[in-house]
């Protein structure tokens, strides 16, 4: 009953196999090996973007910070939502990589409202005194488990472009969103107007690999320099490539995301039947936000459940509603989900 995060489960056997297969003989370092080139080509194919600049890094933090820094000047503002990972969970990483850009928080939700975004853009820049307009950063799926429809994405990108701003897509849960929308990676990125996308693998079954895809190949060299300077260029790059190779083979990335989403749906379905549980979102991917009385959390924790709550579950009024986030990883067993539901039902 481990629902704390999708960075906590094991990787599928295919990834270990891919590492093993790559582990023979000598290869040039720093991405100049055949496997790294092959994987870059596969990613270009997957994204239907034969000219795209494709790079691998090992963490989502690096992927997002480096991608943003390639578009944003130190005197710029990045428009994002308040719960955006780049705002909340990077210990000022984006400020570090951009050399001091500002994150301008738009609205109060995890999804942009276009009117609020436009107002924020219009209220930024205009004189030398202010932060200038830098870029729009969209998270898909969002940090609260929602997804933008393709139409919504396109509208936001059009809005950004109307103000000559590039669009960054934080795709830590790219695959989860893509299968939920039943669309292609191209549709969810450049066809909607995205300028740089992070195709995350770490939360979806890899040990630690994310692909950064610039649809304008003119960004390639600057990104390479930034990656190197940030200490994110792997000398033994083949082991990043191998993971991504395994991830792309036979659509494993889709299979894993479908599993994770299905498990999220199963959990939600189970919880819907429990009166004391108030679901906060209609889960579109593998994240569930809910509220329920403290004593139910406490009961589940006693039985071995593990996830984040917004308050201590052992101290305080047992009937007070306490919020929580539950994330289902591709590997969590259905039986574990059912057991959790069962515990709550009985409690």
């Amino acid at each position: 009953m481990f629902f704390a995060s999708d960075n906590s489960g094991p990787v599928p056997q295919q990834i270990l196999d891919a590492l093993t297969q790559a582990n023979h003989g000598f290869t040039p370092g720093y991405g100049n090996d055949d496997l790294s080139r092959e994987v870059a080509g596969q990613l270009r194919d997957l994204f239907e973007a034969p000219e795209a600049a494709v790079s691998l890094v090992a963490t989502g933090s690096a992927a997002n910070c480096l991608a943003l820094a390639s578009f944003v000047q130190p005197w710029d503002a990045i428009f994002c939502t308040p719960p955006a990972h780049i705002e909340e969970d990077e210990c000022n990483g984006p400020e570090f990589y951009t050399g001091g850009a500002k994150l301008r928080l738009v609205g109060e939700s995890d999804k942009f409202d276009p009117a609020e975004l436009e107002a924020a853009i219009k209220g930024t820049g205009g004189s030398v005194h202010n932060a200038q307009r830098g870029a729009v950063s969209i998270t898909q799926a969002t940090e609260k488990g929602h997804i933008y429809s393709l139409e919504e994405l396109r509208a936001l990108c059009d809005l950004a472009h109307a103000h000559k701003l590039p669009v960054h897509l934080d795709g830590a849960r790219f695959a989860n969103a893509c299968v939920a929308l039943d669309c292609t990676p191209a549709e969810m990125t450049w066809k909607a107007g995205v300028d740089v996308a992070v195709f995350g693998g770490t939360k979806n079954g890899l040990m630690g690999v994310e692909a950064v895809i610039f649809f304008d190949p003119g960004k390639a060299w600057e990104f390479e320099l930034r990656r190197k300077r940030g200490g994110h260029l792997f000398s033994k790059h083949r082991y990043l490539a191998a993971q991504m190779h395994g991830y792309l083979r036979e659509g494993l990335w889709r299979d894993l995301a479908e599993k994770a989403n299905a498990k999220g749906a199963r959990l939600a379905e189970g919880l819907r039947g429990i009166e004391a549980v108030r679901l906060k979102n209609d889960p579109q991917v593998n994240m569930i936000f809910l509220e329920m009385p403290r004593r139910l959390h406490a009961r589940a924790f006693e039985a071995g459940a593990y996830y984040y709550t917004h308050a201590d579950v052992t101290e305080g009024d047992p009937d007070e509603m306490v919020g929580a986030r539950l994330v289902t990883d591709w590997s969590v067993a259905d039986a574990e989900i059912d057991r959790y539901v069962d515990i709550l039902k009985r409690a």
Copy 2:
């Protein structure tokens, strides 16, 4: 006959096994798992430093830059030698992580001369106009394949400390130096006066893991913040820990370095018998610097050899002496070494 670098060979089976063993069930992320804690304890034991702050990162660039940034202010100078990796091969990464510190190059060799170092320190700082004195960075083994004796290390550390400067040890080839000196990690670090050491694994058989060891545990929290902000904190930290776990088990790290050094010695021994080859160093670890006529390089390259030369080997006077660096990885076959020597002998 791949002698280009020790970042180009495969990893030993033990490392793949360690990854497989770690790949089950759920664990907390970001280093809060049991294996990560166990490995930190093992490193403290290995270094006989029960209080040390120990962290893992995936690249040597990150390890060195983050370690230096923890000691050095933006207005400081880091004292290093001209061929230091932090000066030559990091695309200004140290400047990035320190927020703009300067690297002050001491002497013209890969090893510090204490008198030159002292002169450089004394010539730095003193007024608000100058770069201030920040830290001394020593590479062991050096980028040119030399090693400092324990006495030399101690003398440099004493000198630095006499000027109240901390000492950073770039240990990309820590293991190679340690076995060459037949000393303990403690002797080569804190017992000699080193304040922060990078215990490199990547060049010695890991996919990509380096340990950063602060002997003053007071540096721990700042390092953690810097690591996170730099995008170098792995969510699935267990896979870094697993590699290091395999590396430490049954002294694998020593075995691998002994192999690599022995192969370097075998190559040097073979080359010594060839009149046209001029060895530039008496190899102490796994790096050989030599000069020989261009035509010999060309002949070897035709036969499939692969390593760095200081000039094109196909164009130019065939009798001109051309310099080269050859590095022997733990995995290179003795037969390959002998074949290379044989080709040169016959040419």
Copy 3:
């Protein structure tokens, strides 16, 4: 009828005289001259802080950014209000000088609400993933012309200190606030708990001088290094010192602020009598915020008035209420104020 800003009028004759008096003979540079030392002593006396570290810079931007950077780490958050000058009008200068700290906006007003500040502090930091808690920045008088009472200041400082956060006081209009409160500089700073104060001169009659006063002298040397590195250490420092010398002599700084405030009061008094004008604040210093029909602004502008409005005054519905900010400088003539009021009355 120039009410655009208090950075637009001339300097009083005393300041020119002070420059002339300082302009003879040779003096050491960079603040090592007698006059600079004397002025530092005078500032320590004025602030009743014999140990304080005192430095002069030429712009408020430099003063605030350097002061904040001395307390705040790159991974920290600075707590300020949304209209804070450091957030709105410095083109990301604080982010630049701190190496990438974040400005966390508290509430929706120009004055901190203690409960909102406490909630913001509590919601920041706590794990390596988040921005850490850095400093609280208070503007006195605020950007909207309000002042904190000494009790309010003390409460905010107590709150910050309870969370171990230092307090920075942006005193671009320090003098205006100080005379409005009829208190001493010490009462408005360290006696209330302020850790570093900017004693602004530029908006109150100097060509360009601000004093930065650290009540903990341990910050002195780092500040000096930051000032130099930022290009803000004047070689001919005596000309900054001379201005401050003239400013402090015979309480000129108080006289100028009293004049500016009195003129603000005169303007407000005049406007209160006009039905179509809606005052938005009860001016405590020299800033007036109001709304009135567009046609009144247009009429005033035609007659030569000059100040900032929130919308174009010539295009649009003539009866629509349009907001504006009017600032009265020490030098603006009473007749000009009265003429402006008169024009509106008649329109």
Copy 4:
């Protein structure tokens, strides 16, 4: 007998007069006033560069750092000589403003040797691992009192441009060099190939004003943003403009430099007649480097002389040769120069 620096004397009466004349009425801030515009036009005329982007700042540190940052990326190297002010006397200011660029020291002299410069350029960049090629920074007159001929300047600029590198001219003593060469500002800058020049006023009689002149006007807006963000945009910009206005009127800038240079020549002429004094340079501007026995320095210091020596003049072997730098300001009296010479002659 104050020969310590040309930042230590008074400013000429014309500058005070210019401040007084500018000190009336209200003007828009931040350089949007008529006088600031007029001065920008005058500078464009002076440099025969009608399209140039012209900005004023108050310190040479700011001028040079901001100018370099407009051309140089954080991963670049700036090529300069070892005694360059940007290397030696800015407390890592260039590293700060460029976001971490590296200063690559060329040769061992204060003047570039073209062959050494070319070798340094060729030895930089080429792969993602290295610092990339950023810009060439030339100081005219140099920190050691030499000047480049126009032919030398042109050769260096041609070399830089052949490698697609822009050229920055640190003109802290621009006027001294310009009158020594008897050339126009245009000849010493863009006609020779300089891309951005600092036209220094502070060391030549202003309180603190330097003009930064980009011959490519496309750099204007980025510079403005960098200036603002660095805290170097003056709200009361007219007082910078007024100083520059006085400096340009009737060729005052040339007159002052001619005086300073002539006084340097007078001092050198006097010293040439003294056997114990060894002149180290043939002064082309207002800087003299010499060696003489310690006791002569000591004698001069007793009599009130003030300048920098390379060793203590009171302690040590009285006959040991001790180096020194003497700088003559426009305002130093001929009688003071003669008195100094006389003291040495008699000693």
